[in-house]
């Protein structure tokens, strides 16, 4: 496993009103590492991802990406720095419904990276082919299945050449038969060496693809380690109880 620290969280805290969602999260992620985050609903997993790309600015602690602190006084500079390097895929896809598939993937390339139309489209087409959607370039999102939409969302994030990819329960809104195609795309990405933080309920994916599993509950990291250890031989009572419930399904 790589050792160099690429993304570091130190004592990250976040509250919504009186609700303390994150209560001091420490996490080190190395380049090329795949970290799978598990835990019950409301444990703060999604908020953790949203803090990392500053969709929700943390209230306390600090986040350092590639040696650059992106929280605290970093302000706008921090937001620009992190959004150029971190891609995110959401549970609800959030594709732009008024844009075709290829436009979804090329829009930010043009507006943010300043690529010209032809260049952006070429890159979009290549990425869409990679996720198995070469036939769907000019379709609109509403004509696609959930699994196809989610693969477009992955291509859209990859088009920005991110260094880290965040996945926020990306298969939770999908029908069971559509989950595999999305997980396969993610697995391929992991094999190519992408640094990934994956919030998921897919125990199998965490075991096979993850370099590390992190179990969260009530805003803290309860247990972390190699997936086989955390998933097959958990040390903490809360982890055991959660895994029992998930695996019993």
């Amino acid at each position: 496993m790589p050792t160099e620290s690429f993304l570091r969280l130190e004592g990250v805290e976040k509250s919504f009103g009186s609700l303390r969602v994150l209560r001091g999260i420490d996490l080190d992620v190395s380049q090329g590492e795949v970290v799978c985050v598990l835990g019950p609903s409301g444990s703060g997993k999604s908020t953790l991802l949203r803090c990392i790309n500053l969709l929700e600015p943390p209230d306390g602690g600090r986040i350092v990406l590639e040696g650059q602190q992106i929280t605290g006084g970093a302000g706008r500079v921090g937001i620009d720095f992190v959004r150029r390097r971190v891609g995110i895929v959401f549970q609800q896809f959030n594709l732009f419904p008024h844009k075709s598939v290829v436009e979804n993937v090329s829009l930010a390339q043009e507006t943010v990276l300043g690529r010209n139309g032809a260049e952006a489209r070429k890159k979009a087409a290549a990425l869409l082919e990679r996720v198995g959607l070469a036939e769907k370039l000019d379709e609109y999102p509403e004509r696609l299945s959930g699994g196809q939409q989610q693969r477009v969302a992955i291509a859209r994030a990859l088009a920005m050449d991110p260094e880290v990819m965040l996945f926020d329960e990306v298969t939770s809104a999908l029908d069971p038969e559509l989950i595999k195609e999305v997980l396969d795309a993610m697995r391929e990405l992991a094999e190519e060496g992408m640094t990934m933080i994956v919030v998921t309920h897919e125990i199998g994916f965490a075991r096979d693809v993850g370099d590390r599993a992190v179990f969260m509950d009530e805003g803290v990291i309860v247990e972390e380690g190699p997936p086989k250890q955390v998933l097959d031989n958990p040390q903490q009572e809360r982890t055991k109880r959660f895994l029992g419930l998930v695996l019993d399904r």
Binding site: F16, V21, S41, G42, S43, G44, K45, S46, T47, R50, N53, L54, L55, E56, P57, I79, D80, R83, R84, V86, G87, I88, F90, Q91, Q92, F93, N94, L95, F96, P97, H98, L107, A108, T111, V112, L113, P141, E142, R143, L144, S145, G146, Q149, A153, R156, A157, M160, D168, A173, D175
Partner: protein
Amino acid sequence: MIDVAAVELVANLWDSTIGGLWDDTEAFRTQYFDLDLMTDGDRLDPVLKGFWETLQLSALAGFLSLVWGLVLAVLRQLPGKALAPVRGLTIAYIDAFRGVPLILVLLLVSGGMGALAVEGAIPREIGIPRWFGKPDPFWYGIISLTITYGAYMAEVYRAGIEAVPQGQMEAARSLGMSHGQAMREVIVPQAVRKVIPPLLNDFIALMKDTSLVLVIGFTEVVQAGRDIQSEAFNSSMLVVAGILYLLATIPLARLVDWLIARQQQRYTRVGGGGAAEPAPAGAAGTGQAGGPV
């Protein structure tokens, strides 16, 4: 079995009410539907000219209100603490001009700007505008309608912007777009599509309200009809003015209905197609207003 007395009673009632009115129909018809007067070219001409002015007022003020309303709606959605004063001023503007009668705005604009120009406080070409060969009351009307209907339409746009799921802004921002880019490329195009029917409704209301410009001495279709009414003691030309309005507004109303029906159809299709409408994120991820999103 039919009661003879009851039949008589109804017949009497009829004669003393509707039947009686029916006998007076002649006078009524002449007052409102005098076909000779309605088709009198010398009298019809000024009314048609007036309607042409109504159409010009409606088209220009309608276009400017659509643009100004969108500007106001976008200003109202600007992010961050630093821009709070801009948001506050925009809200104050919208509240003020939604809350006072258009006729008051008309009087403030026409009398005020004219007086300021005469006093030399503002240039004459602006205070007493006579652009493109149109008299100053026309332009005071355009300005007043735009000020007022811009505020109404800003609220319609706002409803549309707020109806775009939060996830759209988050997706755009997480791809590195600025707030402005996200608004222009992602939020506003979706919002405008959602609010075309209510915007058209506001346009119909604006079209009817152009008639108020007659109070500052501009002859549009209602004033033209009124001139004939006072000259001929007959209201038929005002009925013509009403018919001309209906010829424009009823097709617009049908268009609105058709657009709404089409939108609803589209919704059901999307819902049935298995494509999830983006829902707000779960409890832990619920966005807080004022964040850097």
